[in-house]
Amino acid sequence: MLVATDLVKRYGTIQALDGFSLNVAAGEIVGLVGHNGAGKSTFVEIVSYLIRPDGGHVTIDGRPPSATRGEVGVAPQHIALYPSATVREHLELYGRLAGLRRAALREAVEDMSTMLRLGGIMDRRAGKLSGGQQRRTQAASALVHRPALLLLDEPTAGADLETRQAMLDVVKQRAGEGAAVVYTTHYLPELTELQATIAVARGGRVIARGTCEELLKDLPGEVRVTLADREEVSVSTSEPTVTLIDLLRRIDRPISAVDVRNPSLDDLYRSLAVHDAP
């Protein structure tokens, strides 16, 4: 669905993208991760035809981004809403711009309102919403026309639990229906829940690509069990839950606390830096 090859983008002396390549298949969710400044948003902007690359090329469903304008669902990293327009007005505007009319428009708006849990706030102005509600409104207005390629740039940044869950649900549903999804985030658990494949960006290119299992396999998580007599058992493991269950089964003394630390994206970045080293 999305094929990007060797993208290059410079801003003066800053090399925002430096040979960035990424393929996304229909129905696939790619978790695009990486430190700030890695080039994730620049990639999203090129695919959505907001900026032109200095090199490399992109096709979406076999066509260049110039030809797929309006067919991609883009939720930018920063909130971009009209403060004095209501949630409903946002959905209707973007729905109409995508060509939806009358019953089809009403249906699509209702659909988004349900899926992103906007029911109670449809007639509130965007400027008066909480951060999470604004995130959901923004995602809803990007998805209202049911695009087959979704570019969601940190859709859960600063979001509350409800927003995060709604976002994950809608992304899973759309991917299930065949949409290709690029999902940028700083939270690893979201990607495991989405069963996303992962692309790690650094310095303007993708330096690692694979499934969660492949990339997270050897990452150190940690399980710590504190016994009633204050003795501690701590195990470094890539599968903390399995290890914890195992430990609990084997320890036959009273336990006062357990602490599980799953591997994080930072662990992943660190492990990649180690692998990179000559």
Partner: protein, 272 residues
Amino acid sequence: MLLDSAPRDSTRPAGAPARTSRLLDAAYRIGALARHNATLRLRDPGQMISYIVMPMVLMLVLKPLYVRAVDGGAAQVATGLMVMFSVFAISLVGNSILSERTWRTWDRLRVSRAPAPELLVGKTLPLFVVMVVQQTVLLVYGCLAIGLPVPPNPVYVLLAIMVWAFALLAIGALLATVVRSHGELSVISDVGALTLSSLGGALVPLSIMPEWAQLAAHVSPGYWALSMMQAAVRGDAAGAVPSALVLLAIGLVAGAFAARRLARGWGRGGPM
């Protein structure tokens, strides 16, 4: 390239020729944008109202002075203040366009199916209407309350208003794409509006200004607007045409520059 189960548009007449249906689609998108922008404008009516009420009050207060000072004083005070406050409306245009950048919403429109020309028309159409309404209301008020002679041919006046509104719209759009902030925009548009429109003879009749000022007036769009408007009000089409051409030229140049900047998503940090 939408998902299969996408709600399809079933209202388009079957068998309409592709060209017609493309035009209808474009009109539909422009309509959606214009409606959206009109809604936003109406929710923030303060500036609009004050640019209509202030000149009304000023016309009333200043009329005796003008009538005593120059021949046709009533016409001068009505058209002069109408032109001056229509120039102030530039900030309305500018703010409304600049907001699309500060809210980051312009980029979201740019990724929609509507190409740049549609975005421009959908954005500016409601602003154009606002300016035409403002000027029309002020002239009608001038006739009813100030003693502006009723124009023998209202069509000329309406055409003049549309030409002037177009030039103002283009200048406002241009300003919006070169300033860095709303603050900067309001300084430039307020100071600029006051200077240019008074230099153009909107406040003090040119005939009683010093000779150098009468010459300098020619650089001000306000001068051309005023002379076009006064000719149109007199029913003097031939007298209005040259000024109208100057204003159209100004509008086209400013508009082309602004349109280029807007289509490229101006102000994203790169060079102009």
